[in-house]
Chain length 251, copies 2
DNA sequence: CGCCTACTTGATTTGCATCAACGCCGGTGG
DNA sequence: CCACCGGCGTTGATGCAAATCAAGTAGGCG
């Protein structure tokens, strides 16, 4: 397990935050941007495979993902792993560690990631002086809960095929909202082991389930990664309604 | 499905909130109590079986549970149901409906419940003037996410027996923290169907799994309900560490 | 009393895990 | 250059855990 982190110079001042490009995000007003400029303490570049946040640690940081893919997971003592959710640009990570006393899950990068770093001890100041931003944080936490609810429904009650279809439809829609989908196709940098650990299945059965999706032309499996091709087929198989189209805040 | 709600007179002024009895909760300062007195618009008594909040609805309310048991759940179109979590005294429910545009899950009472009712449109005011309370709400949302993470790990990666043991240990510890456990025993008003829908198993297999737990004297199954007897055995079987003992806020 | 709901139990089927073997790369080092 | 990895995906065989099917019991209630 790589744990190296490389600090880089600050490339993205908050008034030129790459996230504001995407129409799905709410814009910040000027005062908020100047506060955030102070709240932000730097940027972090993580290589693929890096563990960005570790379960049990009491991290002093809070991050917003600026680019790249990652995933949140927990493990049992004997090594069984459950991937809880994926993290994409615009997602806030490490809130549990900031608000409660320690993180109960880990986060690992699936691709090179750029993270915007915030200092935890300035969070109280944010709540005191920028209630709209505080509200946004609560909004973001509620959204995470909503995603988890649907994922739990999926793992608990959908069949293996429905589950896999839901996962890829979900990832596809999320990626689309942050401009990662071009010409209606998307490359996701996953191994089948990641998929298995997300769906609660074994690798072998995951492999067979993925072949069924590939047979329906919903996706194509490539060397350590998959290309999502037909969102409609995935939505149809999973019976999932899709994500609401509302604007969302980011920090 | 019962949906009747019975409004009752206000029996619990905020300065005599029954929740402050429990040492697990953080106390409020006087100004907060006077604000909360205004924020609270009444109380709601729900009978067992009542649907307190419905998926898809845009409820104008937010609730804190004062007493009783309930559960949060989602269903698929064909009726498959997944119970996401249980709600106990001190839990805040309906936050998703308040903060985002609509609820994506339903909540049903397992026993008679008394709920403290808050007006959603006063929430912005809370964030503006009581940053500590706003922080508490974020804390509560983070805690819900943390519980969901563990539940998802359980459903995705634990065996049927481990899963069931975890569920009862979890419910036991939560109930203990709000004074519902007497002489180290606890009655939970559940049917085996509820347990099945929580664990992602069929009723029949749930029944057989519960018998194994009963054979180990971890619990006893009664008519529509179960009595949890041996927390240690449950913790042992599940391999679960237990809940952190930290103080927690409530609204 | 009879019906309904919840729980039990055994027989059977099936989905999924496990195990094992193999092919395909990309990387490394002689 | 080739030989030798190790990681990843694919496949088939086998066994087990859990779903499904099918009765049957016991208590609660009109």
């Amino acid at each position: 397990m790589k744990t190296t982190k490389t600090s880089a110079a600050r490339q993205y001042p908050c008034d030129k935050c790459p996230l504001q490009e995407f129409p799905h995000f709410q814009r910040h007003i000027k005062e908020e941007i100047s506060f955030l400029t102070d709240f932000k303490t730097g940027e972090l570049v993580a290589d693929a495979g890096t563990t960005v946040l570790v379960e049990g640690a009491n991290s002093a940081h809070l991050f917003t993902v600026l680019s790249g893919w990652g995933f949140r997971y927990k493990t049992l003592e004997d090594g069984r792993r459950q991937i809880l959710n994926y993290v994409l640009p615009g997602d806030l990570i490490g809130l549990q560690g900031s608000v409660m006393r320690e993180m109960q899950h880990s986060i690992e990068a699936l691709s090179p990631m750029i993270l915007c770093v915030f200092q935890r001890d300035k969070l109280a100041n944010l709540f005191r002086n920028y209630p709209e931003l505080a509200y946004d944080i609560t909004w973001i936490a509620s959204r995470e809960e909503q995603m988890l609810d649907e994922i739990l429904l999926s793992v608990g009650r959908r069949t293996a095929l429905e589950r896999a279809a839901y996962l890829f439809a979900f990832v596809f829609q999320r990626a689309k909202s942050v401009g990662m989908v071009r010409s209606n196709k998307l490359m996701v940098p996953l191994t089948q082991q990641h998929v298995a650990d997300t769906l609660g299945l074994s690798i072998v059965h995951t492999n067979k389930t993925l072949k069924k999706l590939a047979a329906r032309n919903a996706l194509r499996w490539l060397d350590r990664g998959c290309e999502i091709l037909e969102e409609d087929v995935l939505l149809d198989i999973s019976g999932w309604q899709g994500l609401p189209g509302t604007l969302r805040p980011y920090i």
